[in-house]
């Protein structure tokens, strides 16, 4: 049972990111991985939840390139992680228009800054299995 007076789901997630880890949760009752982090597992309603550290490999489910005036185009993508959950992120080190659905990608932690908490980004992973 998460004690929300002591530790929040987002707080735990951020602690992992600060160590360079992408953490996610699994409901121990139904065995399903889920994301974003919660105090109660969706569907089962269980508080019997385990934190796990992802191996960091996933596949681009879908992608877009956003155009802010006066800025370079920016990728936004949905990543299906090998452990069975999905998150929004960005694929870096590649032209945003070259981010393709089905592309294998690997996690890297963005440290954030004064205003932004650390967050996960991805880079192309070739044919990583």
């Amino acid at each position: 049972m998460t004690d929300l007076t002591k530790q929040s789901p987002l707080g735990t997630y951020v602690e992992h990111l600060k160590k360079g880890e992408l953490a996610y949760q699994v409901c121990k009752d139904d065995g399903k991985a889920f994301f974003y982090p919660r105090a109660v597992a969706p569907g089962s309603g269980s508080s019997n939840i385990e934190w796990r550290v992802s191996k960091g490999l996933g596949t681009v489910y879908t992608t877009t390139v956003v155009h802010y005036k006066g800025e370079a185009p920016l990728n936004v993508a949905m990543i299906d992680m090998d452990e069975g959950y999905r998150l929004m992120s960005r694929v870096e080190d590649i032209d945003p228009m070259q981010v393709k659905i089905g592309m294998r990608v690997k996690f890297r932690a963005n440290p954030g800054d004064d205003k932004t908490l650390p967050y996960p980004v991805f880079t192309p992973a070739g044919d990583a299995k």
């Binding site: 987002l10 994301f35 974003y36 489910y61 879908t62 992608t63 877009t64 390139v65 956003v66 155009h67 802010y68 920016l74 936004v76 993508a77 949905m78 999905r86 998150l87 929004m88 992120s89 960005r90 228009m97 659905i101 089905g102 963005n110 954030g112 932004t116 908490l117 967050y119």
Partner: protein
């Protein structure tokens, strides 16, 4: 829930837009709601004294029923401010039907107003911070729908030209609607070459940002028969929620319309082939394609090819968004009420040059959030009962 509601137990008797487009400085969203409400009451010959049910949602008014009741100086017996984005008003129809069937109220008004063009979209609809999405700076809601389009293109071979067809069809219909914001023709090439916003969407794949509002008046079938205009019966309703944030949408190519549509059809006792006109919430060019599929008008994945070659333009295979839609007629932010008003007018036969012949059954489908809430209402004339 829809099992308890009776096909044709209530009817729309009044429908009206507020002033649309660009309103005068300092006009408030509630000014527009109130103006539309009185116009809709005039449309059926009722007065404020008759209104005992009030249903309101808006992005700029946190507690809609209170604000509009105060402004109008009425004390409704039943009120509801359910806020699930642009489809809120279809849900309000279902909720008003419950209340009227149970005798909790007799005359219900559903109202909406927005001044998002005047005050800016960012000011009219501030977004909640989401630590799992905001750092990536998606342009929401646009990027969410763009990612659905990208996935549909990947999975089914839908093309940017198909998306542009939706924008061009909307523009052609809009040119037949004197109230439409857009007045100039649009070509496929212009749509494709417009400013890119969130790939694969250019600005022409995205709805308008204008001011506006509307109201409809509903009452029991029995009372409806005594009023000025021919009743437009509520034959069926369906509603569903699938997620709130786009990251939690299970399959980006299948919306909740696949649930709300069959609910509404079952209650209405009709099938897609009985529907003469569709009003499909077109916040973005991908949504009519998804809804045509999910509501059962075309097989899954075929929506893009169906809209090609003017499939939903005037003279095409199916009359869709005859007002010009959110893309070319009016989109004040939560467009669902205006989606229904066009379907109601088609059933009444009030649409002039763009009127669909023999439109006894029309379907209005609302979408809210980032494909998050989906609500369907099927309207019918006396002939459809």
């Amino acid at each position: 829930m829809t099992d308890m509601l009776k096909r044709g137990s209530i009817a729309v008797v009044g429908a009206a837009e507020s002033d649309l487009g660009q309103v005068a400085p300092h006009t408030s969203p509630v000014d527009l709601m109130a103006q539309a409400t009185l116009r809709a009451l005039d449309d059926c010959g009722l007065t404020l004294k008759d209104v005992d049910g009030l249903y309101v949602a808006a992005t700029q008014v946190r507690m809609g029923p209170m604000s509009l009741a105060e402004y109008l100086g009425i004390k409704p017996k039943v009120f509801d401010g359910t806020q699930i984005g642009g489809s809120s008003f279809m849900t309000h129809v279902a909720h008003a039907q419950m209340a009227i069937q149970l005798g909790l109220c007799e005359v219900a008004v559903i109202a909406y107003g927005s001044t998002q063009r005047s005050v800016s979209r960012a000011a009219a609809s501030p977004r909640e911070f989401n630590p799992y999405e905001s750092p990536y700076r998606p342009i929401l809601p646009i990027s969410a729908y763009a990612m659905a389009a990208a996935r549909h293109m990947h999975q089914y071979g839908t093309t940017r030209e198909h998306l542009a067809e939706v924008a061009v069809a909307a523009r052609k219909w809009a040119l037949m609607n004197p109230k439409a914001w857009e007045k100039e023709p649009l070509t496929i090439e212009q749509a494709l070459n417009a400013r890119m916003v969130s790939y694969p969407f250019t600005v022409r794949d995205c709805c308008l940002v204008v001011d506006g509002g509307g109201a409809i008046v509903l009452t029991s079938a029995a009372k409806a028969k005594t009023l000025k205009k021919k009743p437009v019966y509520v034959l069926g309703v369906g509603e569903t929620l699938s997620h709130a944030n786009i990251s939690s949408m299970p399959d980006f190519t299948v919306t909740g319309a696949a649930i709300s549509g069959p609910q509404a059809f079952k209650m209405a006792g009709v099938t897609p082939k009985d529907v003469k006109m569709l009003s499909l919430y077109d916040a973005f060019t991908i949504t009519p394609i998804l809804f045509l599929e999910d509501l059962g008008f075309v097989p899954k994945g075929e929506g893009g090819r169906f809209v090609a070659n003017g499939g939903i333009a005037p003279g095409g295979k199916l009359a869709v968004n005859t007002s010009g839609g959110g893309l070319s007629y009016c989109h004040p932010g939560m467009y669902g009420l205006l989606v229904m008003i066009e379907a109601i007018r088609q059933v009444r036969g009030e649409c002039g040059e763009r009127q669909v012949k023999g439109c006894d059954v029309a379907l209005a489908h609302g979408n809210g959030g980032v494909m998050s809430s989906q609500c369907t209402v099927i309207f019918g004339s006396e002939n459809s009962l």
